[in-house]
Amino acid sequence: MVTAFSLSKGLTTLSGLLLLSFGSLAASQIEDQAEQFFRSGHTNNWAVLVCTSRFWFNYRHVANTLSVYRSVKRLGIPDSHIVLMLADDMACNPRNPKPATVFSHKNMELNVYGDDVEVDYRSYEVTVENFLRVLTGRIPPSTPRSKRLLSDDRSNILIYMTGHGGNGFLKFQDSEEITNIELADAFEQMWQKRRYNELLFIIDTCQGASMYERFYSPNIMALASSQVGEDSLSHQPDPAIGVHLMDRYTFYVLEFLEEINPASQTNMNDLFQVCPRSLCVSTPGHRTDLFQRDPKNVLITDFFGSVRKVEITTETISLQPDLEIMESRDKKDWMDEELMEPLKYAEQLPVAQIIHQKPKLKDWHPPGGFILGLWALIIMVFFKTYGIKHMKFIF
């Protein structure tokens, strides 16, 4: 009786244990699958960073863009995948008391210009047309690779724009504007051609939220520094440099990004909390309705960094080491090629002919009418002044 009881108890504990293990196995499997489901499907990252204002007093816009550039580079996106457009050169501006630097904190704590900044579109090349060409890919074939956005359907793109803006437009270089409709259409063109997997659009201008109102393509998340009707304010004037160094929103975003490293798991909800009204004076806004994933599952490094998907290589294919005969034959071909080359190269530059070349004699022509007239005038003036009696000394 007792044994039966203990046996049944053993059985129940055993079954309980089995159930637990199955449960945990199933749970971990579900967790794995869930994790995979919420992970982004991108394989590379791109960033398009645009500063649209020129003139020395818009120093802060260049500093904004450069601080985002610096964070994005630090978190892993290489220069070949960043299109940086700066409408003016602040580091080498004659009014910059500290040349070759662009500071983002007063008291010159942080130089965001760095040692290896690579500007792709500079100065007057930053126009609405070039910006739209970069986004849509309708670029003339002669454009160098560094000026192209060569993204594909598995690219996550970060687009950051800063400058002066208004309700529904952003000013470029004080001479033209891009409207929110044009921007929305450009993004739709990108979506049609599958030039992005997911897109994060950040804008730091006055009334920035108006720029993302018209987006209608899927997989776009947008952040802006201020709502319609509000101005984005600048942060800190530096008495030594003489201008405002940063805008508030980007200043706090930079502070937030400085704490992110490539392995961090911070998500987008934290980025939405950056710069509340008490610090920013304006109300930052965001738009996530077009985005498929939940922002709390989107990592900051999905857009700002470049974490690659990596797989261990488990297979090899077997190769046979080659026979000697093939090798020697190949070597002979190779040597023949090498011998061939010097002859061909030397023939291209006929040095001997150039050295011994005599200068070609030009045919002599008598002086033309203008020269004759000029001399006649000079002689007439001479004789007029000094009298005709001097003629005998000349002729």
Binding site: G41, R133, T313, P321
Partner: protein, 393 residues
């Protein structure tokens, strides 16, 4: 049973299954490197059913199946994030640039030599010429000194070696990439293959997988980017001489891994072998004929789908914007693209893969040229609400 010669000479895509008694004990089928397979028969009441099923399995392993097509059309189908195979292959392109780089972070200790030119000629060129139907390939190589991986390896006292854990591998590539110069190479997609010889202070260096076991190949790859292999210098080489130690890289071992990675990056996965079958392995080039067929099929389908969606979106654009003007050369590109799509579909239907692939590539090139024509920009971004007319009356 004697095979009639007409059966063998028929077309390009006949899978010949010969049923006769084989001497292999356990294997039921054999799949060869050129489009042939052999299925073993036996006497049984249900012989035909069983053998028929096995023939179907073999045919499925060797030929185009639904999941290959699904992988090719991955970006046109609704999203399914479950399988990583779909993200791995490179997108179809006219050509590819393959760069082999030797990274030597410690030239004071290791004087590394590799016969890359010979290895490329012997092993890589045959593979690429077998694949030449799929695009133009160009190969280059470089040696980089004083370039370290971005991650510090950890020391494992048990095996007294250094290791890189699986979760730190994604961070290895980025710091190196800026040194590779891959962006200057060409407009084609670039595949980078790196051979890393670890520093003396961090030798030997192994890569661990998720369970903590060292990986046999000591290599990993990243989809659409390339692969990295860690080459450990033999510890016996240090005893005799003083530093720097001359290291001759064993190119056969290296190329075995790189070619396997190249196959994976191109989407030529290891085929699903049916049970109890013997796979002969690829020929010396590293690519079987039917794998190439599958790749060409998948690429042709992908190209036709891409060209079709491009032309459709261009047509939608014309519908949306009323005042657009299409120049003559854009129009002729569109006509050419449509003709090429039709030709590709016809050729695919009749099974002529090579010409179908060429037609599909022409279709993609023409449709992209039409869609990305620089002249379309001015006409698109001039919304009607920003136009006004000043007239004097």
């Amino acid at each position: 049973m004697v095979l009639p010669r007409s059966l063998l000479a028929q077309g390009d895509h006949v899978l010949v299954c010969v049923i006769f008694l084989l001497f292999f004990q356990d294997t039921m089928s054999y799949i060869g490197p050129e489009r042939t397979a052999v299925v073993r028969g036996f006497t049984h009441r249900e012989a035909f059913n069983i053998v028929g099923r096995r023939v179907i399995q073999v045919a499925q392993a060797m030929s185009l199946t639904e999941d290959v097509l699904a992988a090719a059309l991955a970006d046109h189908l609704p999203e399914d994030k479950w399988s990583s195979d779909k993200r791995r292959p490179l997108k179809s392109s006219l050509g590819y640039e393959i760069t082999f780089s030797l990274l030597n972070p410690d030239p004071k200790s290791h004087d590394v030599h590799w016969d890359i030119e010979g290895a490329v000629r012997r092993y890589v060129q045959p593979f690429l010429s077998a694949l030449s139907a799929a695009g133009n390939f160009s190969v280059d190589s470089q040696i980089l000194y004083y370039t370290v991986l971005g991650v510090n390896p950890r020391f494992d006292p048990a095996s007294s070696s250094y290791y890189l854990a699986a979760h730190s591998l994604p961070h290895v590539i980025n710091p190196v990439e800026s040194r590779l110069g891959s962006s200057a190479a060409s407009l084609y997609p670039v595949l980078n293959f790196l051979l890393y010889v670890p520093e003396l202070a961090h030798s030997p260096l192994y890569i661990q997988d998720k369970d903590g076991a060292p990986v046999a190949t000591n290599a990993f790859h990243s989809p659409r980017w390339g692969g990295i292999m860690v080459y450990n210098v033999d510890s016996k080489a240090y005893n005799a001489s003083e530093l720097p130690v001359r290291v001759e890289v064993d190119m056969v071992r290296v190329m075995e891994v790189f070619l396997a990675q190249l196959r994976l990056l191109f989407g030529i996965a290891q085929p699903q072998m049916p049970l109890k079958s013997l796979f002969s392995g690829p020929k010396s080039e590293g690519l079987t004929t039917w794998e190439l067929d599958r790749l060409l099929w998948a690429r042709s389908v992908e190209n036709v789908a891409t060209a079709t969606t491009t032309l459709t979106s261009l047509a939608q654009l014309l519908g949306k914007i009323s005042n657009i003007v299409i120049k003559d050369d854009v129009a002729s590109e569109v006509y050419r693209a449509v003709a090429a799509v039709q030709k590709a579909a016809e050729e695919l239907a009749s099974g002529r893969l090579a010409s179908a692939f060429i037609a599909s590539q022409a279709a993609v090139t023409s449709s992209e040229r039409a869609f990305f024509d620089p002249s379309l920009l001015h006409l698109l971004y001039f919304p009607d609400d920003q136009k006004f007319v000043i007239s004097s009356l």
